[in-house]
């Protein structure tokens, strides 16, 4: 019999209803329940260092009264009556403190009818059922090729599952189709991730490979181990070359690392019409008294489309009833076409009244040039495995600094000629996406959510070749 490691729909419903039975005195009480499980395996120096099985629960209770202050939730991880009742009482007391006019029920516009989306590919039995012994066996098989070559393998393999449900107080005027404000139908998801770093014992070579997916069956651990070993071998004894502008061939992982900040900006903390810096802000319109956004304008190379479809079986995005319920194109053929927004502020201005939370998962369009072909057609350039420690220096231009890591090679006259020492770069993803020469086939990359019980943040990204990438200083760390 399969042991229940996360709560079932019935379990959640029962807890939520029990919590609601303690609510009194009107208002809208929203109770949410999240349960998660993680099976984890860590190794280093060719030996397992820790295997763990961890589970937890998080119950949040928040209550809103008209004219009151919704405040943040009261959180507990205990399911018994006394704990639930205490949490509900605490939320009730909280909501009556510090009332602020203009907030509360009735503030939101009418919601669009929400049709629950049933087909999202987010659960995989292959992930949930990957047993302890199998995980151990996979890790051993990943260590073996590194050890055989005299290298040191370190890595991490994790399978996890999460389940979420929430129940609000019923208000007929706030019902949209099947669900009321604050309701979250039971949803469960899985995530698998596997990554490995293979280092030369001299400390002068390091290779990495990793992949995450909701579905363990889509992760080829053997291929990852092989790639990390290969990269370690090929990256040994790097030579220093001058920083400067180079044509770069970015492997898909490097592209995903680099454009992370750009994708995050699809959900600005304030809308571009507000005053906060954003790459999507155009100019201040003194007549209308607001900031104009770049919606409808070409922002990157026209070969680029960044979008998501909740039904995409290769992607896997956890759905929320009132947020990102449909396929959305953020950038279409280089044109900014959508931005995340809140319906309580922006609904009148934007097409489609659904609340958009920004892209947690996305797919970026590509081309048909293979990495080998990109190398062959490069006179002088660099091949980048991945980036690390990225920091955005300017939110307006997205100028960022960061490091190359785990494999950087010099290409001369169509061939990889030597491993080179790591660089610090100072570059903007927006400029890179405007300087594209060639694009390859989009593939899933390593983008696990790190929060316990966190939801999937998958990405499918192509490799690309871009000119004039700015490397500003040499880094002799390996």
């Amino acid at each position: 019999m399969r042991e229940a490691r996360i709560l079932t729909s019935e379990d959640c419903r029962a807890v939520l209803e029990r919590a609601h039975s303690f609510a009194r005195g009107g208002g809208d009480t929203r109770v949410g329940i999240l349960s998660w499980w993680q099976g984890e395996l860590r190794w280093a120096r060719n030996r397992m260092s820790l295997a763990s099985d961890r589970r937890s629960i998080r119950i949040t209770v928040a209550r809103t009264v008209p004219g009151g202050n919704p405040g943040g939730p009261v959180v507990t991880n205990q399911l018994d009556d006394a704990s639930l009742e205490a949490a509900v009482r605490a939320a009730e007391r909280r909501s009556e403190l510090g009332s602020k006019p203009g907030r509360g029920l009735g503030f939101f516009p009418q919601f669009p009818l929400y049709e629950p989306f049933q087909k999202a590919a987010i659960w995989s039995d292959a992930t949930y059922d990957l047993g302890l012994e199998e995980r151990g066996e996979i890790a051993r098989s990943m260590i073996a090729p590194a050890e055989a070559k005299g290298f040191l393998s370190a890595g991490y393999l994790e399978v996890r599952a999460g389940a979420l449900a929430a129940l609000g107080t019923e208000f007929p005027e706030l019902r949209t189709g099947e669900y009321a404000l604050g309701d979250q139908p039971y949803v469960r998801w899985t995530q698998a991730q596997c990554s490995t770093t293979v280092r030369d014992p001299t400390g002068l070579g390091s290779g990495w490979a990793g992949l995450s997916s909701y579905d363990w069956a889509r992760i080829d651990a053997g291929a990852l181990a092989e790639r990390a070993v290969q990269k370690c071998q090929a990256s040994r004894d790097p030579v220093a070359i001058e920083p400067g502008r180079y044509t770069v061939i970015l492997e898909p992982q490097a592209v995903a690392d680099l454009i992370g900040s750009l994708v995050r900006e699809f959900y600005p903390r304030e809308t571009p019409e507000g005053g906060s810096p954003s790459p999507w802000r155009l100019a201040y319109d003194a007549v209308l008294g607001l900031w104009r956004s770049k919606l409808g304008m070409k922002v990157v190379d026209e070969r680029i489309t960044i979008s998501h479809d909740p039904a995409d079986p290769a992607l896997g995005i956890v759905m929320h009833p009132l947020e990102r319920p449909r396929p959305v194109a953020w950038i279409e053929r280089g044109v900014l076409t959508n931005l995340g927004h809140r319906f309580d502020t922006d609904v009148k201005r934007l097409e489609g009244a659904n609340r958009l939370r920004g892209a947690t998962g996305y797919r970026m369009s590509g081309g048909d040039t293979s990495i080998e072909e990109m190398i062959r057609t490069t006179r002088r350039g660099l091949l980048v495995t991945r980036f690390s420690n990225i920091r955005v220096l300017d939110r307006e231009s997205l100028l960022s600094t960061g490091l190359t890591r785990d494999g950087l090679w010099l290409i001369e006259n169509g061939e990889i000629t030597k491993a080179v020492k790591n660089f610090r770069f100072t570059e903007s993803p927006l400029l890179v996406l405007n300087n594209i020469e060639q694009l390859g086939e989009p593939v899933p990359v390593f983008r696990p959510t790190k929060d316990e019980g966190g939801q999937l943040t998958p990405a499918i990204v192509p490799p690309l070749k871009a000119r004039d990438f700015s490397f500003t200083s040499l880094i002799d760390a390996v």
Binding site: E40, R42, A44, R45, R47, L50, A51, S52, D53, R54, R55, S56, I57, N69, G71, G72, V74, V75, T76, Q78, D80, A82, S83, A86, A87, A90, R93, R94, G98, K100, L132, E133, G136, L152, A154, Y156, T196, T197, R199, G203, S206, W208, G244, S388, N389, R391, L393, T401, L403, R424, T426, E427, K450, E452, S470, T472, S473, I475, D476, A477
Partner: protein
């Protein structure tokens, strides 16, 4: 006896405080659920040893169990003082069991405190370790540690923030915003605080049992200076970084005085002309906060022995101090004036505990003495990796008590303890060091971006000034401070005295799955020579 209004208020307060807590939590210690009492109650001990016994019976050579009960309370403001409120309360129970079987570690954790779950976790952790134990054996020696017999420690704080009514805390925080409202050119853009208390029990198969109560408080207070309604400059108080204290984080400090000084500083700064950065090498004076960040990002990271040995290679990286056995006691980390000690005992430290997460009583130790690398951050397992060198030096191979985890839900790792950089002998502070600088730069609150070995860094984000004839004459826009850790510390020419010393709480994340812990870094101001300064915003 007459009852004064004050007494009534006090009584009212504590009633409100009690009422605000989502208590009691319930544990299934016996046949029926019962409220969780103090962590010191004997039932906790029974529960913990239940798991230890289950693990031992299943074949663990060693087992330890932690029970934690963690409460957090968060206060935040919106854009006007009345909106400031208590925005989050959480209370969570966790239990984690860690075992060693044939040299392999297994771990299992859960939010349920019950006898059945203890047994499941004890056996489960052993099953985890067993699966790893096929193939070549892994040798794990645990540095010996005297067993702790039923001891308790409560971190000394002056005011338990959970005994203070949230309404009182909200009122106090609002009063700070109202105080700033007297100065119409300033606006508060951030005013928030967070309190944390954790009750923790530790039991091991070596017979140790100890319980402790730990506190942590932190706050954020940021202002902007406005001209014609638009922000033109800003700054944040630096006296509210995470610390092992209670509500006295605010009540024990002259907050209005601090705010007034911050406003003056922002104005002074704003009055200085702005210059673009002139790329080159400079004498640079750093304030205590910059020095604390630099020490933390370089030596604080690079002396974690698990990182050094490659246990973090697939996560945050390794260390430039790559040969611990060869380097210990001889490697020149920096200039002779540099000495760094580590501890988990200082009062008010954000990383302070009486016993670490392996039940090791904490103490203090030298990491760097007169520029020479003296030691590494260790746990019971990693201390034995250096056993030969310790024996040579006539020291016992004992853990320095650096095992930590945010709660019992996570397995402990080596985390940075509190660090203390020894001040210089002369009584000179930041302004004094600046006064002694004929031509150079001064920098406040620089935050370094490091590489994955704690080796190469680029400092930025703080405030940089041009210094001429001992005076700050201009602000420098976009300055980036480029350094390699070994050269940086060798080019340290002077440290500020006792008067320039400040303590800052830091947050650090490591591991897979990632976990975040806190520690303090205490440092004086300092002067460096030959610091490479670049334009951080300029591309190649």
């Amino acid at each position: 006896m007459t009852v004064s209004r004050r007494d009534l208020l006090k009584a009212g307060m504590s009633v409100a405080a009690l009422a605000a807590l989502p208590r009691p939590l319930v544990a299934r210690l016996g046949p029926v659920p019962e409220p969780v009492q103090s962590i010191r109650a004997p039932r906790g001990r029974e529960l913990a040893f239940r798991a230890v016994e289950a693990a031992r019976a299943a074949g663990a050579a060693y087992a330890d169990v932690r029970l934690t009960r963690t409460r957090r309370r968060i206060f935040q403001k919106a854009d006007e003082p009345r909106a400031l409120q208590n925005v989050g309360d959480s209370e969570e129970l966790s239990v984690g069991v860690r075992v060693l079987v044939d040299g392999y570690w297994g771990f299992a954790s859960s939010p349920v405190w019950s006898s059945d779950v203890m047994v499941r976790l004890g056996r489960g952790a052993v099953a985890q370790a067993r699966v790893m134990a096929f193939g070549p054996a892994r040798e794990v020696d645990l540095a010996s540690v005297p067993a702790v017999r039923d001891e308790h420690w409560t971190m000394p704080v002056e005011i338990d923030p959970f005994e203070v009514s949230p309404a009182e805390i909200v009122d106090y925080l609002r009063s700070l915003t109202y105080f700033v409202a007297r100065y119409p050119e300033f606006k508060v853009v951030r005013n928030e605080c967070e309190f944390w208390v954790q009750d923790k029990a530790f039991a091991s198969s070596e017979g140790s049992y100890c319980t402790q109560r730990l506190y942590r408080a932190e706050g954020k207070f940021e202002l902007t200076l406005r001209e014609n309604g638009r922000p033109v400059a800003g700054g944040a108080l630096d006296v509210l970084t995470p610390a092992g204290v209670g509500w006295e984080l605010y009540k024990g400090q002259p907050m209005r005085e601090h705010i007034r000084r911050l406003m003056e500083e922002i104005k002074e700064d704003h009055a200085l002309p702005i210059k673009p950065v002139d790329v080159g090498r400079y004498q640079v004076v750093c304030d205590a906060r910059t020095v604390a960040h630099l020490v933390d990002a370089t030596l604080g990271t690079a002396t974690q022995l698990d990182r050094v040995m490659g246990y973090e290679a697939n996560a945050s990286g390794t260390s430039y101090l790559s040969d611990p056995v060869g380097m210990l006691g001889s490697y020149e980390v920096g200039a002779q004036v540099l000495s760094v000690r580590a501890n988990r005992t200082e009062r008010g430290g954000a990383g302070t505990v009486r016993w670490d997460d392996e039940g090791v009583e904490t103490g203090h130790f030298a990491l760097v003495e007169a520029g020479i690398l003296r030691d590494f951050q260790t746990t019971r397992e990693s201390a034995t990796w250096l056993a030969d060198r310790y024996v040579e030096a006539g020291r016992p191979a004992r853990s320095h008590g650096c095992a930590a985890a945010p709660s019992a839900l996570e397995a402990p790792l080596t985390h940075t303890p509190n660090l203390v950089v020894a001040p210089g002998p002369e009584s000179v502070d930041f302004d004094g060091l600046v006064a002694g600088l004929e031509d150079g730069l001064a920098v406040k609150n620089m935050v370094p971006d490091m590489d994955f070995q704690g080796l190469n860094g680029l400092g930025g984000a703080g405030r940089a000034y041009e210094v001429k004839g001992g005076k700050r004459v201009a602000r420098v826009a976009g300055a980036g401070f480029l350094f390699r850790a070994p050269e940086l510390w060798k080019r340290l020419v002077a440290l500020g005295g006792e008067a320039s010393v400040r303590r800052y709480g830091m947050r650090a994340s490591k591991g897979e799955p990632a976990q975040t812990t806190y520690h303090s870094v205490t440092a004086p101001a300092a002067a460096f020579e030959e610091f490479t300064v670049i334009d951080r915003m300029r591309k190649a």
